[in-house]
């Protein structure tokens, strides 16, 4: 049960906004009324074109994320279980971790074109890092006692991998996903704002350039809801799959 206090701050902020909108002190372009934003939002969700743009962004974000999930988890587990792979790949990942991969975007445009592919490739690259690093951390720290016991009881290497290493790493994999999923959304929106002719990020810039701030904020709201919904979805999925671990460890 969420206490009532939780809504005080949010409510106060919304009230202050509406007050600023109605006071007439500022141009309505700067603080469009919540009513107008709501109208635009309903129009946005109701029409097919809005949903189409949302689908385009979602497709790019999830495409890159899914690729990064498959590749990242594989690399992470490989690094965690093989000292050679860790020695070779760890400096590569931790060395370039703090480098903004976004800087590669102009080059990606030349390589992959200005369509979806360059954006999916950048999402893939940005999502790869948290997934690899956190999966690696999990796979490396599988309790050796569990592995020794299984070996003692005559389990094969494949069986140990499938029954011990993977389940012990899954909570970390989800923690990596949880970091990477908002990153996917961020990168898609940024790249669409920089160079695109479709998608939600483009719509934000387009509404701004045509000075329709209420429309722009409706799109921002849609992006916010999308980001929030994806996060919730991941939490539900995790509590189904990783029922034995509490949510406390979700942030690594």
């Amino acid at each position: 049960m969420i206490p009532l206090r939780s809504f005080i701050l949010l409510g106060a902020m919304l009230l202050a906004w509406e007050f600023a909108a109605r006071s007439g002190l500022w141009n309505p372009l700067l603080f469009p009324s919540l009513v107008n934003i709501g109208d635009e939002f309903i129009r946005f969700v109701g029409g097919t074109s809005g949903l189409h743009e949302a689908w385009v962004s979602l497709y790019r974000a999830l495409g890159g994320f899914a690729l990064a999930a498959v590749v990242g988890v594989s690399i992470g587990i490989l690094m965690g279980r093989s000292a050679l792979a860790a020695a070779l790949l760890d400096p590569l990942f931790s060395g370039t971790y703090a480098v903004p991969k976004l800087a590669l975007f102009p080059i990606f445009i030349f390589v992959f074109g200005i369509g979806s592919l360059s954006k999916v490739a950048l999402v893939f690259l940005e999502c790869l890092y948290p997934i690899v690093i956190i999966t690696y951390q999990g796979a490396r720290n599988v309790s050796p006692i569990l592995i020794w016991s299984a070996e003692n009881m005559g389990a094969s290497r494949a069986r140990i991998f499938g029954r011990i290493v993977i389940p012990a790493t899954v909570p970390f994999i989800f923690a990596g996903f949880r970091v990477a999923l908002p990153v996917a959304m961020i990168v898609v929106i940024i790249t669409e704002m920089i160079s695109s002719a479709d998608g939600l990020g483009y719509l934000v810039i387009y509404s701004l350039s045509s000075l329709q701030t209420d429309r722009m904020l409706a799109v921002v709201l849609a992006i916010a809801i999308l980001g929030y919904a994806l996060d919730r979805l991941l939490i539900v999925l995790r509590s189904r799959l990783v029922y034995w671990e509490k949510l406390e460890t979700f942030y690594v």
Binding site: P91, Y97, V99, P182, S207, V219, V220
Partner: protein
């Protein structure tokens, strides 16, 4: 092991160079070429001006956002009523890409540096808040009880028990938000700026100056790496008592 690391890097660079000499499209320069252009650009004033402009946006944003994030996160992790009031709002907006607020900030605060600094601060706030929050929450009860038993006041417990025990996570949050500040800085400069590394790369792309593109790319890579190393150095200093792990 260090030999294997350097070896791998050299092999990759060598393969790249060989491929480049055998002919790659215009946009792919060889490592030697990139280095040559970079060294040449280092001798000019222009590059330093762009780097300075970028840092003047990223660093203030990082400092403001992290200071608020750490302070509010520590308090929210300690005081129940503050937690109830602030945390739901923060956690609900956490998965939202903060960069979408940039157009609005540009309307409110102008298209100059202020809107960029504030959007960077907003982006940096979240990871530091969440890490400081969980760090403070995870303070071992026994330490707090012992402190209370020995007659320490509330403020003393906060500054001597809660803050030190949250510090490792605080640094983890700082590391994420430093990386984030560079990303957001770069994005804002690519979207709308007249100076900075993001502007430089955008300009280079529009005029097909691939040498400039790679110079800007290399500069931002070095800056990001240097910032991260500096932060790790600071962490080792401050957290000398903690076992080195991540």
């Amino acid at each position: 092991m260090p030999i294997a690391r350097v070896g791998l890097l050299l092999v990759v660079l060598a393969i790249w160079q060989v491929f480049w000499m055998r002919g790659l499209p215009d946009y792919a320069l060889g490592p030697v070429e990139i280095l040559k252009h970079f060294v040449a650009a280092l001798a000019t004033r222009e590059l330093y001006e762009h780097i300075g402009a970028s840092l003047m946006r990223a660093l203030p944003g990082f400092v403001i956002g992290s200071a608020f994030g750490i302070a509010l996160g520590l308090v929210a992790g300690t005081a129940r009523w503050f937690d109830d009031m602030l945390s739901p709002a923060v956690f609900m907006t956490y998965p939202v890409p903060k960069i979408v607020m940039l157009p609005l900030f540009m309307l409110w605060f102008g298209i100059g540096d202020l809107s960029k600094i504030l959007i960077i601060a907003l982006a940096c706030f979240y990871p530091t808040f969440i890490n400081a929050y969980y760090g403070a929450k995870a303070t071992p009860r026994i330490l707090v009880w012992s402190g209370l038993n020995m007659g320490a006041g509330k403020w003393r417990i906060f500054s001597r028990v809660v803050v030190p025990s949250a510090l490792p996570l605080v640094f983890a949050g700082l590391r994420v938000s430093l990386a984030l500040s560079f990303i957001v800085m770069f994005a804002t400069e690519m979207i709308n700026a007249r100076s900075g590394l993001g502007f430089l790369i955008q300009e280079a792309e529009n005029s097909m100056r691939f040498d400039l593109m790679y110079t800007s790319l290399l500069s931002i890579a070095i800056l990001g790496y240097a910032g991260d190393q500096l932060l790790r150095l600071g962490r080792r200093r401050v957290l000398a008592w903690q076992e080195p792990s991540a």
